[in-house]
């Protein structure tokens, strides 16, 4: 297969219904290597469902999911993570009573395949702990490394959410509303972190915050009622009358 043209992630005719409610309707989607791609759409458009389908938390009724050209439709969640398909959660899902350092170290242990080790103490894996600490330094979290996550401001928790996903060395990273619930004053830090992410990671951002979307994304897909309504570069999407009507309304970027 042609290395250059194989997308990092691709879905073909992805279909999912809950009873009569169709939440993903023949979704064809391509995420190019190293892309900065945003998935937007009104509430209930099926954005988070799409993430759950792609990561394997939900099973599609039909269609195919390909990671790096390989069919992963029937792989369990853990195997997809091992292949570099990683997500963050819209509502922070961390080990709340554990320290930031431990949250990240747990992820690194799983990535390195030492997470099931029964006898050697975790403290005897200094490489894993040091890697976790370096990652915290990169995100400016090192001063709070030993604080439990539930003692942190929500904006900081969102950063930990990103730190844990980076600990898994993702090739494809799905950021599910990374700035959700963060006071507008703090969302700048998160946008900066996202902008600084290594360029070889293919990034899909599911987001409501249009500032973030238009600052980061080079390509936008609009999802409405489980179907792709439009796709293209940001300027094109911002001009699209159909998109403006159903979604952007008068809130479109100035």
């Amino acid at each position: 297969m042609d290395e250059v043209n194989t997308p990092a992630l691709e879905t073909v005719g992805l279909q999912k219904s809950f009873g009569a409610l169709t939440v993903a309707n023949a979704v064809d989607f391509r995420l190019e290597r190293g892309a900065r791609h945003a998935l937007i759409g009104p509430n209930g458009a099926g954005k988070t469902t799409f993430v759950e389908l792609v990561t394997g938390a939900l099973r599609p009724n039909a269609g195919q999911i390909r990671l790096d050209g390989a069919d992963i439709t029937h792989l369990p969640q853990a195997s997809r993570v091992k292949r570099g398909l990683v997500r963050t959660f819209q509502i922070t899902a961390l080990f709340r009573r554990l320290s930031i350092l431990e949250n990240v170290t747990l992820a690194i242990c799983e990535r390195q395949g030492i997470g099931g080790g029964l006898f050697r103490p975790a403290g005897h894996h200094p490489a894993a702990i040091e890697e976790a600490y370096l990652l915290l330094e990169r995100l400016g979290l090192e001063d709070e490394a030993l604080r439990p996550v539930n003692m942190l401001a929500y904006g900081r928790q969102r950063l930990v959410e990103i730190a844990v996903s980076l600990a898994l060395s993702p090739e494809v990273l799905l950021l599910d509303e990374p700035a959700a619930g963060v006071p507008s004053g703090e969302s700048g830090t998160i946008i900066e972190v996202i902008e600084r992410l290594p360029s070889d990671i293919a990034l899909l951002i599911i987001e409501h915050d249009m500032d973030l979307v238009f600052r980061v994304a080079q390509r936008i897909t609009v999802l409405v009622q489980g179907s792709v309504l439009a796709e293209g570069p940001p300027e094109e999407i911002a001009r699209d009358p159909e998109v403006r009507r159903v979604y952007l309304g008068e809130r479109g970027p100035a």
């Binding site: 990561t55 938390a57 969640q77 853990a78 195997s79 997809r80 993570v81 091992k82 990683v86 997500r87 959660f89 899902a93 961390l94 080990f95 709340r96 009573r97 554990l98 320290s99 350092l101 431990e102 170290t105 747990l106 992820a107 242990c109 799983e110 990535r111 030492i114 997470g115 099931g116 080790g117 029964l118 006898f119 050697r120 103490p121 975790a122 403290g123 005897h124 894996h125 200094p126 702990i129 040091e130 600490y133 090192e142 490394a145 030993l146 844990v164 600990a167 898994l168």
Partner: protein
């Protein structure tokens, strides 16, 4: 590479703290201080092992169970049957009981650990009830309601005879408990043990970081079953009796109560809750033979209302408050 303060502190968490010697010093001191209570002491030590097994699944992995007695009883009946049919060697009996209990844990775990929460709780109860009835029904082998008769437990290593004063029993239970505690302590500080805490704290996140959650739960369930089995063996061998109460719901329930009194998910809750409960039980039943369970109940209410996190939780809060 650099070794900053945070990394160092984090990497040293598994080092032994001087306070951890306390239960062992107390156990040795009790041997000399209360020579007439050694049979009770042996029971307490064996039950601490049982509570430790429950802490591993409930406190660390967050698996709520009311079926721990199934493994306790399976171990006890295995060693009991061996001792009643001509093989009274205690150490091999202990291993056999642990292995049989582990197998039952593994096989039932494969089926029931697909579920979580309340459904899982009911299923653990079902497994224990099924085993209870099976043992009851097979009275030709197990003695049914009357319990297993005729256990002959040999001296340990052919040398240390189980004496009337419970000296051998106490030391045997203490050594087995100590070895199991070492193993459990090592395990909870291993990456595996930390991943169990992760499963307890946020199972969705564990899936999302690519952890084989189902396998981890099955492994800890099996290990816990083995420890519970070993605990049952200790009680069977040191009392020379096994009966249906070994498998009863009462036993699964009371071990949780003891653990909650001590503190769940802290490794040492068992070492505090079990002696407290069993000594209180011994005292109360002497003072008030009919209604002693009422006082235990009252103690439980006080702990749950005023000391969330058990006695250890209280200590932790006090320690934080003084700093």
């Amino acid at each position: 590479m650099r070794n900053s303060g945070a990394v160092g502190i984090f990497a040293r968490r598994h080092h032994h703290h001087p306070l951890e010697a306390l239960p062992w010093l107390a156990a040795v001191a009790a041997y000399f201080a209360f020579p007439s209570y050694l049979p009770l002491g042996a029971q307490i030590l064996a039950t601490i092992l049982f509570a430790l097994s429950a802490d591993l699944v409930l406190g660390y992995a967050g698996i709520v169970t009311l079926g721990q007695a199934a493994f306790f009883g399976a171990g006890a009946y295995t060693a009991g049957l061996l001792a009643a049919h001509g093989w009274g060697e205690p150490v091999s009996g202990l291993l056999a009981g642990a292995v049989v209990a582990a197998l039952i844990g593994l096989l039932s775990g494969i089926v029931i650990l697909r579920t979580t929460g309340l459904t899982l709780l009911m299923l653990t109860l079902v497994v224990a009830s099924m085993l209870y009835e099976a043992v009851n029904k097979a009275s030709w082998l197990t003695g049914g309601d009357d319990g297993l008769q005729g256990m002959q437990v040999w001296p340990i290593f052919g040398w240390f005879r189980f004496d009337l004063f419970g000296r051998t029993a106490y030391c045997y239970c203490l050594i087995v408990l100590f070895l199991c505690w070492l193993a459990v302590r090592r395990m909870v500080h291993s990456p595996f043990g930390r991943s169990l805490v992760g499963i307890r704290e946020n199972i969705r996140r564990m899936h999302a970081i690519g952890a084989p959650v189902a396998r981890r739960r099955l492994v800890v369930y099996t290990i816990s079953a083995a420890l519970a089995g070993a605990s049952g063996v200790l009680i069977a061998q040191t009392t020379g009796f096994v009966g249906l109460t070994f498998l009863g719901l009462d036993r699964s329930g009371s071990v949780l109560i003891m653990l909650i009194i001590g503190g769940v998910g802290r490794l040492y809750g068992a070492f505090i809750g079990v002696p407290l409960y069993m000594i209180a039980q011994d005292r109360f039943s002497e003072i008030d033979p009919v209604y002693w369970y009422f006082w235990i109940g009252l103690l439980m209410v006080v702990v749950v209302v005023f000391a969330r996190g058990g006695v250890l939780g209280l200590f932790e809060r006090f320690w934080r408050w003084t700093r």
